[in-house]
């Protein structure tokens, strides 16, 4: 599957395209198929996303898992600071990245 990520223009937060809106959680990301470029152009024009790009991902029971480690680190947070990730209470969250 193909999903979209970028950063929120004002806050810089990593965001994922849900099909209608942007979410902080990669689990909410929607498969955009061949429409990624069109969505990004519209969303960039509307200044709802900054630096958006298309990510290859694998559909899993827990939601989309980006194919590249960089995007998995984007999705979770720095592996060396679990306390600053989106899942600070989950000691095994980092395993998902590696």
């Amino acid at each position: 599957m193909r999903i979209l990520t970028g950063n929120d223009l004002k806050t810089g937060a990593v965001i994922w395209w849900t099909g209608r809106d942007w979410s902080l959680h990669v689990e909410d990301a929607a498969d955009v198929g061949e429409h990624g470029e069109a969505v990004l152009a519209a969303e960039d024009g509307a200044r709802r996303v900054n630096g958006g790009y298309i990510v290859d991902a694998e559909a899993t029971p827990d939601g989309p898992r980006p194919a590249h480690i960089k995007d998995r680190i984007r999705a979770l947070g720095p592996t060396v600071r679990p306390d600053l990730t989106l899942k600070p209470a989950d000691p095994t969250a980092g395993d998902w990245v590696i």
Binding site: G12, A13, T79
Partner: protein
Amino acid sequence: MYRYDQYDQAMVDARVEEFRDQTRRRIAGDINDDQFKPLRLKNGLYLQLHAYMLRVAIPYGTLNSVQMRKLAHIARTYDRGYGHFTTRQNLQYHWIKLEQAPDILAELATVEMHAIQTSGESIRNISADQYAGAAADEICDPRPWAELLRQATTFHPEFSYLPRKFKIAVISSKEDRAALRWHDCALRIVRNEAGEEGFEVYAGGGMGRTPFIAFPIRDFCPANQIFSYLQAILRVWNLHARRDNIHKQRMKILVHELGEEEFRRQVEEEFQTFLALGTDFPQAEYDRIAAYFTPPPFETGLSEEIDRSDPEFALWVDRQTVRHKAPGYAIANISLKPVGGIGGDVTAEQMEVVADLAERYSFDDVRVTHAQNLVLPHVRKQDLYAVWGALAAAGLADANLDLVTDVIACPGLDYCTLANARSIPVAQKIQQRFADMDRQLDIGELKVKISGCINACGHHHAGQIGILGVDRKGTENYQLLLGGSGAEDTSQAKITGPGFDEDGVVDAVERTVERYRELREPGERFLDTYRRVGLDPFKEAIYG
């Protein structure tokens, strides 16, 4: 240290308002990111992996306690409670919001700080010897010149849209603590036979994907002509650098393509042009700036004695303190490399501890080093025990300066959008592997430097042991390099061979170290042994 007058203050205040306006135009949609990017980069604002990142300039690595407390305040108020000291003596915040960035710059301006030209294709913040004004081996304090050049190169109209970034370093001793010749323009203050002060000038250095060590372009440039000479270098590069391939636009590439002789000839011609224009700052302005850097009122008659009865303290003194030019004083290095920590990261609370110590024990002076450590430059020997105690209570008393656990590492893939691999976990594993203090001391000086991509922010080309993270079909892979130096014996590290995974590269480092221990002769550092025996014995140890 230097203090702003109304002109300096007006300059940074205007800059804050300019950036506020630029940010407003971006958020309102008047300009797109392609147009905004160079503007935000000139204010040190990047879009990184998780958020915006703000790089704050610390001119020539010098801070006072008020500034350090402001950095702590910003970390706590606008970021996530910490900051990261970089290999360019700057500080980065990794979790910044664009809409708050103008307010942060306004906060910085209240303590005479800014983020001007900390990124982008501009003349970057000027670095200097972290022991300036304290080192026993310096000719003079290099910081007045660094400050003069800071002003001269701030918003320089001709050189604000350069082909690429341009980094300047200034030192004034034979010993090089600033990785001098890895800069685009490297200045070493010297005296000529007539006793006049001037600069030995090197040009065309830089790391990145095509590393070059700066070549000696001029043996002696009279001190009061250095701005002309610098502008001459910049103009030759600005006019003739390629503009079609961002990877080939650094000055080092032009120097390489033109050849050193031809580059020097063109610079000399342009130098005459600038001398005739008379743009150099007058002696009176140098004197005005230098007056801010007169030595603090060192006490005389102080004891040289240090009570070494506490063995941990004695170890710290031996490792972290350096001879000061004033009797009874020492230069105290603060390690930001606790085993298993994140090199260069400092919490707001730790910043405040350091600020307090600087104010109380070091004439209100803190330095940042290119090795991502801090320095209290002027501590009475009799106060060292108290300083050490306070540092220990804050988790800042590691005694590993220049040892194998004093690893330089860029933020890597954990934070950086350019990175191909993580750097920090590799640094942590090396630290853990060599955590035993006796083993570290037995190994002696060993500078390990790790970059998460070829941009080389972790200075791997200058590592006695360098590690470069690469992306190998979507997985992290690490190349090992040996024999680099960022000191006065500058050299470029060489790749040993095929890369490794994370654990594999740590094993390879250990095999390298063990081979060194077998081969070394009395008194030899790792680098000395490497230079004597060459790469082959190490390759054999690493790859079998």
